[in-house]
């Protein structure tokens, strides 16, 4: 395993790390790169940067590298790293912050498919107040133009009666929509956390 620091010859954005620390409420300066997070991470095998490397990239202010990475979207927020970190660095909170920053700065690259999922999931909640699973599955299929994978499974789930055909109904769906509207207003003011 290679430390990112060895390859770094650029000067990073010195304002980046303090911003991430403040927004995530996590003092990443405590990290002493023991690699516990990366060794225990269930999805490390497929990440472009391992969790300890993400922390290092933030410390070094390498904003673009970390915000365009796949790692911040692959992280499943399983909380294993946070539970086992000897220095109490809450990496899932850091990942949440980096994802929100990447969205606000519109620099998502490799994680686009996962962002499509999150946005579809949330737009369904905005519309119905609860998740409408059948609609979610169909929309993901159309948006990713991936019609055939899991087709057999999907039909079996439908056949087993595991998907409700009718959308959920809430009395106060306008109350839920108002929450989303207030968040939109915050985002428009540049408040992204």
């Amino acid at each position: 395993m290679q430390y990112v620091a060895k390859n770094v010859s650029v000067i990073g954005d010195t304002g980046f790390s303090p911003k991430v620390k403040e927004a995530s409420g996590t003092n990443i300066d405590r990290c002493y790169q023991c690699l516990t997070c990366s060794l225990d991470c269930p999805v490390a095998f497929t990440m472009d940067y391992l969790p300890h490397q993400v922390v290092r990239l933030v410390q070094l202010g390498l904003r673009r590298k970390v915000l365009t990475s796949d790692a911040i979207w692959i992280c499943a927020n399983c909380e294993t790293c946070a539970t086992r970190c000897p220095k109490d660095v809450a990496i899932p909170r850091v990942m949440d912050t980096l994802r929100a920053m990447a969205l606000q700065e519109k620099v998502v690259e490799k994680g686009k498919d996962i962002v499509v999922f999150h946005h579809t999931f949330l737009s369904n909640i905005r519309r119905w107040g609860r998740q409408y699973e059948l609609s979610l599955l169909l929309q993901i299929k159309f948006k990713t133009r991936d019609f055939f994978s899991d087709l057999g499974l999907g039909l079996r789930i439908l056949w087993q009666g595991k998907l409700k055909l009718r959308p959920p109904r809430l009395k106060d769906v306008t109350g839920v929509r108002a929450i989303f509207r207030r968040i939109d207003q915050s985002l428009a003011r540049g408040e992204w956390t």
Binding site: F121, L134, P168
Partner: protein, 283 residues
């Protein structure tokens, strides 16, 4: 013993059998569940992955509703459970967070009530002795592993009614039902459920590892308390080439053991049918 019951979105559809087993078993055990009126989605991982305030507000609306009815909340899904508890904790820790949340949801909220998972309630409040007294059909010699996954036990400072590395509540509960509970090291592994729809190869690999560990431990089925783990473990085993272990909700097995007739109909919804396994154990 009365709670505001928050089923969560999955229990209305893909995990309908979990919902039915929860309601029936709780009624049988004397836990009164009053469905939280007009509950909405907690935002799940898509909420906190994109916007912290949105995540808090979506969970917060439900917490405020529970406060309005004046009851602690009982939650079935560990992902919802974590969202509720972390929002409640952030409000209790910081008055600025509370003001911001109240502004976003436009409802009063003081964080006066608690949120608990049903496993916690059944294990700690009903207790194993009480449960044992109600068993009429012990799950004798049924070799199981209990699979806790992530949010029942992590992060421990937010959830944590059980140990975060080697939890025992579900193991002891299943043993009280008469099952042969195997010790194994996969009980708090992540199944990758959140990636099951768009990065299925990741989820498939994690599920294959978990079911392989369960088989090596000598189990013939896995038991979960999470609707997302359940559908992910079923789907990614069903389309894989290796083991196809049935997956039970812990409440389904309680139902079976305490002699609720409907229990067999809940399990007919599973993708991996447990019927031959149960038949071979005279259940």
């Amino acid at each position: 013993m009365k709670y505001a019951y928050y089923p969560g979105c999955s229990l209305e559809a893909t995990a309908g059998e979990y919902d039915r087993s929860v309601r029936t078993v709780c009624a049988h055990l004397g836990i009164e569940l009053q469905e939280l009126p007009d509950w909405s989605c907690c935002g799940a991982s898509s909420g906190h992955s994109t916007n912290r305030q949105l995540a808090q507000a979506l969970a917060g609306r439900n917490l405020a509703l529970a406060e309005r009815v004046g009851l602690d909340m009982a939650v079935a899904c560990p992902a919802c459970y974590l969202q509720m508890r972390s929002t409640c904790r952030e409000v209790r820790d910081n008055s600025q967070n509370r003001e911001e949340l109240v502004r976003l949801i436009d409802m009063p909220y003081e964080a006066r009530y608690d949120t608990r998972h049903l496993l916690d309630i059944i294990y700690n409040d009903i207790g194993l002795e009480e449960l044992k007294k109600k068993v009429v059909r012990p799950l004798e010699a049924l070799p199981l592993v209990s699979y806790y996954g992530c949010y029942l036990v992590r992060p421990p400072e937010v959830v944590g009614f059980d140990d975060s590395e080697n939890p025992q509540s579900m193991d002891k509960l299943l043993a009280a039902l008469g099952a042969e509970v195997k010790d194994w090291s996969g009980k708090v592994n992540c199944c990758g459920g959140g990636l099951s729809l768009n990065r299925r190869e990741i989820a498939s690999r994690l599920v294959a590892e978990i079911s392989e560990m369960a088989c090596r431990a000598g189990a013939q089925a896995m038991v979960t308390a999470c609707p997302l783990c359940h559908s992910n473990l079923e789907m990614r085993q069903a389309d894989g080439k290796q083991n196809k272990l049935p997956v039970f909700y812990f409440t389904e097995l309680i139902g079976l053991a305490v002699g609720i007739d409907e229990a067999a109909s809940w399990m007919r919804k599973h993708l991996i049918s447990p019927s031959s396994l149960l038949a071979s154990h005279d259940l």
